[in-house]
Symmetry: C4
Subunit: 256 residues, 4 copies
Amino acid sequence: MRETTILRLKDVSLEDPIMIEGLPGVGHVGKLVAEHMIEELKAEKIMEIYSPHFPPQVLVQGDGTVKQVRNEIYACPGSDGRPDLLILVGDYQSATNEGHYELTGIFLDIAEEFSVRRIYTLGGYGTGQFVYNPQVLGATNSLDLVEEMKGYGVVFHENEPGGGIIGVSGLLVGLGRLRGIDAVCLMGTTSGYLVDPKSAHAVLKVLSTALKIEVDMQALEDRAKEMERIVGKLQEMERAQMPFEGGGEEDLRYIG
Amino acid sequence: MRETTILRLKDVSLEDPIMIEGLPGVGHVGKLVAEHMIEELKAEKIMEIYSPHFPPQVLVQGDGTVKQVRNEIYACPGSDGRPDLLILVGDYQSATNEGHYELTGIFLDIAEEFSVRRIYTLGGYGTGQFVYNPQVLGATNSLDLVEEMKGYGVVFHENEPGGGIIGVSGLLVGLGRLRGIDAVCLMGTTSGYLVDPKSAHAVLKVLSTALKIEVDMQALEDRAKEMERIVGKLQEMERAQMPFEGGGEEDLRYIG
Amino acid sequence: MRETTILRLKDVSLEDPIMIEGLPGVGHVGKLVAEHMIEELKAEKIMEIYSPHFPPQVLVQGDGTVKQVRNEIYACPGSDGRPDLLILVGDYQSATNEGHYELTGIFLDIAEEFSVRRIYTLGGYGTGQFVYNPQVLGATNSLDLVEEMKGYGVVFHENEPGGGIIGVSGLLVGLGRLRGIDAVCLMGTTSGYLVDPKSAHAVLKVLSTALKIEVDMQALEDRAKEMERIVGKLQEMERAQMPFEGGGEEDLRYIG
Amino acid sequence: MRETTILRLKDVSLEDPIMIEGLPGVGHVGKLVAEHMIEELKAEKIMEIYSPHFPPQVLVQGDGTVKQVRNEIYACPGSDGRPDLLILVGDYQSATNEGHYELTGIFLDIAEEFSVRRIYTLGGYGTGQFVYNPQVLGATNSLDLVEEMKGYGVVFHENEPGGGIIGVSGLLVGLGRLRGIDAVCLMGTTSGYLVDPKSAHAVLKVLSTALKIEVDMQALEDRAKEMERIVGKLQEMERAQMPFEGGGEEDLRYIG
């Protein structure tokens, strides 16, 4: 596999859908919100995206089988005024700069294929301190969207985040403009040190209002605890890494 | 050489062979088992694989000639109920993430060319502590294989290895599923600090049972000692690296 | 987006223009001079250049909208003996070695398209100490240009900068020679620790003399202060980076 | 420039020439020998090789003009029994692993174009200690060559260098074998900390014997002193590097 590959699992027909991106990032806020929505709205997986820009890794699942790391797209047809949705989630973002650009291009191709009329990218905004009352910061690719978002309680601070937005959440908004697709990045403030269900709750509340949908938020905290457990394991593994590291590139470079 | 290149040394005809991968990794367990099998079963080299994703390096052999670093595939026709085998070994795994994906794709192309019906990838699972009685952990790409492997004494711990499996051993299983090829990763527990013949012994025992073959294990310990000596030399060289380092990229970047 | 992409905003016809490059670098001297000229001469943006070799990032602007990081080319028709100008500025230089070569090639293609007759690349030359009276060091791609530049007060020290010139400022001069385009690199000495309006002033003075143009220098210091504020924010953000870093590649590599 | 590019300066006709490689490396031994031979034999430059795998850099020369970093090939027709020679020198080796493979492939293409019958690659072998009487270690791509080289005083230690040979000096020998070109790597032992004319002297002596040529060695020490001065300057520059580093990739990543 030398190229990013899309595995199409199901054909669906959607009407002017909204795309929601929740890939891993600060406080896992975006991932938590997007995976919660997939569960609560019973969205259906329609695509798997494999790429040499992801780490060369499989995850071992509870039943002893492995899962090749990937990104996934779920579809959820609307009802009762709720719009059709495409939800983008995954195990990782690209491990290379160029991969971020390539994958974002592929996601925007998919958005165009489905005539997506708006993209929401979700993430956390790390403050380095415990956050009692998470806010939702916004950044958009049009002035109209700034005004609309303010109506949902989204906060805009001048030139904040000062360091810009890195990764797919930023690029979908920035490169989306070049394709004429409206896009908004919603960032829940969070300490950044833990998977943060309170920050996710704040982002989900704004998103529900904007989409005019109802999502039960009860399960959000349990889901955060489970995710924390998995992230903790991954980090523990990393700390325990051995000198002959089973395929990791640095470790193998000079071992014959 | 800008592309990965396969040098075909010999045409062989095999019937539904099993592929065994034993590239360098944790405790050199997989490499030790695979090279031992090649010796004991008198397998014959049929392919050499050269790639710009390997380190830009030659190894100096005992007779003063060099060996360009590479991966190799050996064939071993079956007999007395022993299945035909393809054994993949080598000096290094890829030095880049993308290379792991590309090379795994090439190995799977070869597997398809030979109608390989199952892949065993072999490795070590570093625990960071001395291991008195090595276990063999498993991960597969189908539930049926989990059950079958348990019958051979393979252990499956929920979500373990927690950090997933990195490198070719993982990707052959994960990407193998997308090609419809059954695959199992067998990992012998090991401290991870030394070339570990006891862990290799445990893995080889499981593999022999699964393949219904007999391999003399006497020479395994001597082979481990020789490998330890070579690995030690490579590490010693690394520690002794000079400021003007003979072609290593970091060292040359700013020296005219 | 897998390839560097030029977005052409406006067709302009220029006569044998001079190209001026002022991308970010030491003391932000080049960027400061080039952006100042764009403002003072009311140059008009004619191209935006997007590339997967730039960081995968958007900047958040004062109004809540984002700006995809990019390079830009401005045009300024001449008058009263002032030559036509093409001015190259941007948020970043390439984040990869290969990208520096690719982007320089693209800039030289543009130079050839407009029959550019000379390129000035602008930068700072960090001394590590406070510089009371900035000098302007030069490096060119022909001996004639060395003589001409000395006439404008440019200083040439034997084999200085000793480490050569890294990035687009150097490559435009070095690779420009292979295309037969005259090119000069002007470097204002600066401590290197701060955005340096005094060094920019010295460079602009030389450039104005060489181009026989007049540029008001009053606003240069205010512009430097504003740039210092933004650079400071970016650095502050960097220091405050969280463990789950919102898309940055290192941070995501082993977090599922 | 996205691809490695060969600039051909002159057509020459050579008969079964010998290729000599002396790119920068440990103790600059190979570079010193090769450049000395170019001077003493009055070899003529026939090719310049530019590549995006070299650092994105120009060097500033004594007269104020720049030199785009590159590799170069010189030709020297034989006489009085001295064979025709092709000599490969340069400012840098590749800055990437893949680049080492690509450039070696290009050098071997050139060798085939000229029907090169043997390649000598020259380098230093760092011992980390002051070397009173430098030896010349060898590594070849055929057993016959080992025997021949022993006749010239070349030393072969079992499995030494233990870490193998990294960079173009190794790859020309290793990949040369795959093209059927005889190749030898000659490594002068050296502390590795300084440009080492004594080690270069030892290598040149072996090479002169092997090639049946005479090269005056008087100027070797002066040349080493001049090279030491330049290398020292480059290192000094590196130590003095500023936070806003003029185009270096790391420094610019998060500075807007």
